[in-house]
Symmetry: C2
Subunit: 415 residues, 2 copies
């Protein structure tokens, strides 16, 4: 039996015990985990320093180094995150639906843990703690598989939280890290159907594509965000300007930032120069289609590839469209079905956009930057689903559960 | 571009139009489809006769021949099924959840169609019509991929219903059949991620395994049912007898029939002879563990493989267990997480069983045969999910939908 299989078996066993724990028991463990992280800060920083030394030696980028880095402050943030998860309502046991049949059978649909959740993620070591906290609170066992660049940090973080969780009475094996960072270990996890109920990849587009294509375990696709804002003919242009500036520049490196702005031709000559100036002031480079470049001759040309691009950077593709129908067609064709917005004061346009744009999160007169579990008031999120199965949009504790039917009878048989 | 890809593109286009149709428009189309099926009975029977001739020549089993066969009565049943689906409430547009954020944003979570649904199925031509009806009612486009044995029947059925649907105003391409029954066509469908949102296999364990392992399109696993009834020490033995007879013999060839009976040792000497006699009278062959065979010396020996078996036949595996814990361990180890029952009058045993048995449908004092969309009052079902992602248990119209967040604002931006 391979190491990964053994981890799977342990996780499955732990998940059975996890599924019947009380909320109090789970919260106590999260609290214990938070305390242990802070208490063992020195060890964690030492392990992290080792990863960073490795990173420096292999010459990884500054951005990656920043993601890898842990500090006393960041460890406190992870601990605070666990306490926030403890404070969230427990989704397990919620009766989602229920009714009585004519024959007297009482049917209840009840929320239950998913079972075993696998998380495959990249550089950020905080995912180790954040994901584990959400999975445990929702009654699941979790198998973590991080990247080699953060292996020392991930190992100590897992050790600290798993030890604390067990001390607090959670079953051994409820949080496990796959120590091998060879490609094979990830592939094996992706085929562990008997022991893993769902796999959630967290990272760049490449990682997500690999998991989606290779995994036989059901996957929830997360994260890639090629988001649009469509400024309609009937938009309040000041409002539109605020929204597009926010959507593009408030935090350009994240999945709910705007990548393409679509502008109705009737307001293009008025709006584009305003927008271009504001974008320019904030260091945003514009790539425009032909009509845009007639109005803004200085901007670069956008190619077909630009419409597909998730820049995650201070670059903005701009296209002028003749109708809302064209805007929606553009979004449904090139977008990633993540978050898309319209700015308009036209009732019918707002209603059509909300219905016909096939995205997880559709905004009328607001910035796409709100797509986030915390912003929505749902609490910490495990990711943002861009697929349609199971969960769509920000996924929080509820999305880490399944349901089962419980049927109470008095001897009913089928005739 | 391949044929399958073209089908995918047409389906995607059709799905966009489908998603905004009114309930009235969809119901009118279902009615039209029902009428056309009956009107074109002769053509359908001719095509079916061709399939049956092929079946006879290649010597398929009587059971398979029966599944393949269409009659006037069966065509009327299909038509009646479409009318029943028309009468069901439309899931699309249902506001599942909604709230206002402190910043004034109004968030709604609204049920939307899945988009494009692929169905891969085996012999029964009625699946062509049943699945299409459910997919269309829930606002989806559907791609059907049946087996070679039923290709002529499937082709005429699809032609009849697609033509009727279009006449009634549904978009062209909303129902399509893949004509090639080569293995490659199914494999290509399983990789059509850009155009297919979910794939539902309907058929035997082999088909389902293949789809689960090969598909990069998200799959909902359906159907395999290794179901148990546990007769507890505190069971009413008359009730238990009724339930196990019903679960085993009322229709042995279906997924919610009982395959293994577990009996608490305290009542085994009293209950097993009663059960064995009743089973024997109905032609059921028992395979028992060692303890069972001490009480019922005439029964065959059950091997480890028997515990995993979905007989779909008049065969019953029987095991005597010392505790409810052992019964649940057996079910969670060997079962297929489909439908499992306890018969007991012990409050604590009932409560434990409901919580700790990790199955889609858990029964207390009732037959597992009730696991069915119609029996549950949910209307026609597209299958019974035995996985935990997205849907678990009988899947009806709601389970063919996804959701999206619609956020209405007045210019809100994130700070």
């Amino acid at each position: 039996m391979s190491d990964i299989q053994e981890i799977g078996i342990r996780a499955r066993e732990a998940s059975q015990a996890m599924s019947t724990l009380t909320t109090e028991a789970k919260n106590r463990a999260l609290e214990e985990m938070a305390r242990a992280l802070v208490a063992r800060t020195a060890e964690i920083l030492t392990a992290n320093e080792e990863d960073r030394r490795g990173g420096r030696e292999s010459g990884i980028s500054d951005a990656l180094m920043d993601r890898l880095m842990l500090t006393e402050g960041r460890i406190q943030e992870m601990a605070a995150g666990l306490r926030e998860v403890a404070a969230l309502p427990d989704p397990v046991g919620e009766v989602v639906d229920g009714w009585r049949l004519p024959n007297g059978l009482d049917i209840k649909k009840v929320r239950v843990p998913m079972g075993v959740i696998g998380i495959i993620y990249e550089a950020r070591p905080n995912v180790t703690v954040d994901a584990a906290g959400l999975c445990l609170k929702s009654g699941n066992a979790v198998i973590l598989r991080g990247s080699s660049s953060a292996i020392n940090s991930n190992r100590i973080l897992t050790e600290v939280i798993a030890h604390a969780a067990e001390l607090a009475g959670l079953p051994s094996g409820c949080v496990q890290l796959i120590l091998s960072t060879e490609r094979e270990s990830a592939v094996e996890l992706m085929h562990l159907r008997d022991y893993v109920d769902v796999l959630i990849p967290r990272g760049g587009a490449g990682l997500i594509r690999t998991v989606v294509e290779e995994s036989t375990v059901p996957v929830i696709e997360t994260g890639v965000g090629n988001c649009h804002t469509y400024v309609d003919a009937e938009a309040d242009l000041e409002m539109a300007l605020n929204i597009v500036i926010n959507a593009k520049t408030q935090r350009p490196g994240v999945c709910n930032a705007m990548e393409t702005m679509l502008v109705h031709r009737d307001i293009a000559t008025e709006f584009l120069p305003m927008a271009a100036e504001a974008m320019h002031e904030r260091g945003v480079v514009i790539r425009g289609d032909e009509v845009t470049r007639k109005i803004l001759p200085a901007v670069e040309e956008a190619t077909e590839e630009d419409w597909y691009e998730e820049y995650l950077d201070l670059i903005l593709a701009v296209r002028v469209v003749p109708t809302i129908a064209e805007a929606m067609k553009h979004i449904n064709t090139y977008g990633s079905k993540h978050s898309d917005a319209i700015v308009t004061n036209d009732y019918e346009a707002a209603r059509r956009f909300a219905r016909e744009v096939d995205s997880a999160d559709v905004y009328i007169n607001a910035s796409t930057r709100f797509t986030d579990g915390n912003q929505y008031g749902l609490g910490a999120e495990i990711g943002i689903s861009t697929q349609k199965l199971h969960a769509r949009g920000p996924m929080s504790l509820r999305e880490l559960t399944s349901s089962k039917f419980i049927i109470h009878g008095d001897g009913q048989v089928r005739s």
